[in-house]
Symmetry: C2
Subunit: 361 residues, 2 copies
C-alpha cells in the first residue's frame, strides 16, 4: 500500500512512524526542504501551486491524505480525482476550511455552538457586536491556527482597531463565551463503516497554543455520550473516513462545539503511549479499510507540548515518553511533545506541575 | 545525535522507528539494496569487506551499534576506534560470536549451562559423544542462527554424517538436554550504569525458529531473580552497554544459560506494544546515556512471528498489533510479527491458538 500525505510536518511524521509497521509506504509533499516527515519518508519538494508536481505526487499512490486543513481546495479536488481514494473526503475539508461555513454546518445540523456572524465590512462588525454583545472574537474565516488570525474585542472602542488588523480578509465574529473546560474528542471512522472513539480529553491553552492535554478528562461520563453523538452525526453528514477531531467548550452539563479538524490532532498525541492504538495508526487503518485498533486507555496520560526550545534534560528525566519532530527551534514553534503515564489523574497533575517547573516548559 | 547501525534488517528498522521520536538520526550499513531499515533511514550500500566504506559509514556518527552477532570482529574493532562510542562493547561481541568462547565464558563465570566440548576432528567428536552421551547437538562455532548450522545426533551411527555435514567449519558439541521450557531475559544497562529488566518470557520454537513468545512467562517469581543475577554478572564482566538477551532452559527450579545475544532480540519484540518502553528504545537510551524507560508490562502479550508468507487477513483481523518488515516473502524468512494483548495469559493462549488456525501462521 502506498499513501501520499499533503504536508510533511510533525503530523505527517507521526503518521509515517505509525504506518511503516503496517507495511505502508509513504510519499509526503512539502515545499520545505527540511520537512519533519521528509526525514523518514520519500518527499516531493515542490510548491503546491506547481501544476507539474501533482502528477509526480500521485504517481503510484493508492491513497492520499493530508495533515493540515489549509490544503488548497482546488488541489484537494484535483488529487481526489487522480487517486483511487482521498481521505478524509475533500468535501469535508471544504466545509471546515472556512470557519463560517463550518459554523453554518453546525447550525444546519443542530450542533450547539456559540453565536457567530459573517463579517464583510466595519458596518457589519458594528452591527454584529451590538446584536451579539461583547466580548467577542473576530477571526479570519480561513487559515488561522494556534491563535493566529484572531482578535479579542472586549469593548466597543476596540472594534475599529480589530477590523483594521484583519483588513482585507474575510472574517467571522464569534461570541466569546465563558466555559468550564475545553474538551476534545478524537473519533475515527473506517471506510468500511466501523467507528471508534477515544475518551474526551481536557486541553489547556496558553497564548492560543495547546500546552497540555490530560487524558482522559475527569468526570465525563455523560459528556462522552453527547460528544460521540455529535461525532456520529458528522460522520454521517460528511460521509467521513479517517480521524475527526471535535473541540468542545463545556458549560456545566452542556457541550458547545468550537471547531472541528478533519485530521489527526495535537490533542490526540497522548494516544501514542497512552492508548492501545494511536490516533495515527487508526487514521491509516480507517483510510485503507483495515480493522480499527482498540482505543482503550492504558493509563491516565498527560501530553505536554515542547514549544520554542528544547530543555537539555529531556533525555535524562525518568518516566518521559519523548516525541521530537526534527525541527529547528524557533519562538512559538512546536518542536515535540512528551507523554507521561500516571497511576491516576491526580498523580499525573502533580507530576506535570513538577515537570513544568523542572524543564521550564 | 547520529547513530550508525551495522546491518539494515528488521532489528535495525525497529531501532530506527524507536529512535526517530527521540530525535536520533540514523545511518544503516547493509550490502542489500532493499534492506528493511534502509526504507526509512539513510543507507550505505556497500560490502562489509570494502575498506573505503568504513570512512563513509562513520563520518559524522556519534555512536555505532549493530543488529546481528556476525559483524566481522575486525570491522567492529576498527569502527569502535573511529567513533566516539560503539555499543554493546565489541569485546562482548567477540566473546559471543563463537559459541565455544561463549560457553567457556559461562563456565569461567560459574553460569550453569549444558555440557559442551570443542570439536576439531571426527575423532574429537567420537570421543566427546562417548564421554557426554547422546543425544547431543553438533553446531558450527560461528554464524549459525534460526537453527541453521546445527545437527542433532541421536545415536552413534549418526556421528559420521553429522561431522560430514558441518565439515570444514569449527564445531562445538553440546549435550542435548531435556527441559521444561525455554525462557529468555531481555536486560539493559545504560552507559551511566542504570539497569532494567523485562520479565522472563516463554519462547516456543518450531524447526529451530522462534514462533511465539508469551510475556510474561507464568510462574517465574523465583526464576526472575536467578535470571537477573546472571544478567548483572554479565553486565559487570563485559562492561556492558545496551540490551543483552539471555536464553535459558528451565529444568524445574533451575535455569541453564543456553546462549546470549548482545543485541535486541526476537523474544523482546512483544515489548513494542506490551511494555511501557520497548527494548528498541531502551537499547538506544542505554547507548546514548539517557534515562532508561520503564520496563513495566502493560498487559500479558503474545508475539507471533510471521514467517515465509503473509496471511491476507492481517489488517482485517481485530486486536492485532502488526509489525511488518518490508521484506519480500521467501520460505523461512521472518517477514513481520504480531503482538496481541490479553486480559490474562490464559486468555492469550486461547486467542493465539484461534488466531494460528485462522491465519495459518
Amino acid at each position: 500500500v502506498r499513501i501520499g500525505i499533503l504536508g510533511g510536518g510533525q503530523l505527517a511524521r507521526m503518521l509515517v512512524l505509525a504506518g511503516v509497521p503496517l507495511g505502508i509506504q509513504f510519499r509526503v509533499w512539502d515545499p520545505k526542504k527540511d520537512a519533519s516527515a521528509g526525514q523518514i519518508a520519500e518527499q516531493l519538494t515542490a510548491e503546491f501551486s506547481d501544476p507539474q508536481a501533482i502528477k509526480q505526487f500521485v504517481s503510484g499512490l493508492d491513497f492520499v491524505t493530508y495533515e493540515w486543513e489549509n490544503v488548497p481546495a482546488k488541489l484537494a479536488e484535483t488529487i481526489a480525482q487522480e487517486v483511487p481514494a482521498f481521505f478524509p473526503p475533500h468535501s469535508a475539508l471544504k466545509i471546515v476550511q472556512d470557519r463560517f461555513t463550518q459554523k453554518e454546518f453546525f447550525k444546519k445540523n443542530k450542533i450547539e455552538t456559540a453565536d457567530f456572524s459573517a463579517i464583510e465590512s466595519l458596518d457589519d462588525l458594528k452591527n454584529a457586536t451590538a446584536k451579539m454583545g461583547l466580548p467577542a472574537l473576530l477571526k479570519t474565516r480561513t487559515e488561522g491556527y494556534d491563535g493566529k488570525g484572531q482578535v479579542l474585542i472586549r469593548k466597543t472602542s476596540e472594534i475599529e482597531a480589530a477590523s483594521k488588523k484583519l483588513f482585507g480578509k474575510k472574517q467571522i465574529l464569534e461570541k466569546f463565551i465563558s466555559f468550564d473546560r475545553e474538551l476534545s474528542l478524537v473519533a475515527v471512522r473506517s471506510k468500511n463503516g466501523q467507528t471508534a472513539f477515544y475518551p474526551l480529553v481536557e486541553n489547556l491553552h496558553q497564548e492560543g497554543i495547546l500546552r497540555t492535554t490530560l487524558a482522559p478528562a475527569a468526570s465525563t461520563k455523560r459528556l462522552q455520550a453527547q460528544a460521540e453523538k455529535v461525532a456520529r452525526l458528522l460522520f454521517k453528514e460528511l460521509n467521513y473516513v479517517g480521524v475527526l477531531t471535535i473541540e468542545f467548550f463545556q458549560q456545566g452539563s452542556k457541550l458547545l462545539a468550537n471547531e472541528i479538524a478533519t485530521r489527526v490532532h495535537n490533542s490526540g498525541h497522548w494516544t501514542i503511549d497512552g492508548a492501545e492504538t494511536s490516533q495515527f495508526e487508526n487514521h491509516l487503518r480507517a483510510g485503507i479499510g483495515a480493522a480499527l485498533g482498540s482505543t482503550r486507555v492504558i493509563k491516565p496520560t498527560a501530553m505536554i507540548n515542547l514549544i520554542g526550545n528544547l530543555p537539555d534534560q529531556l533525555l535524562s528525566e525518568n518516566g518521559i515518553h519523548l516525541h521530537l519532530y526534527g525541527k529547528t527551534p524557533a519562538p512559538g514553534r512546536k518542536l515535540g511533545h512528551i507523554n507521561i503515564l500516571g497511576k491516576s489523574l491526580k498523580d499525573l497533575q502533580a507530576r506535570v506541575k513538577k515537570l513544568r517547573g523542572k524543564l521550564a516548559v
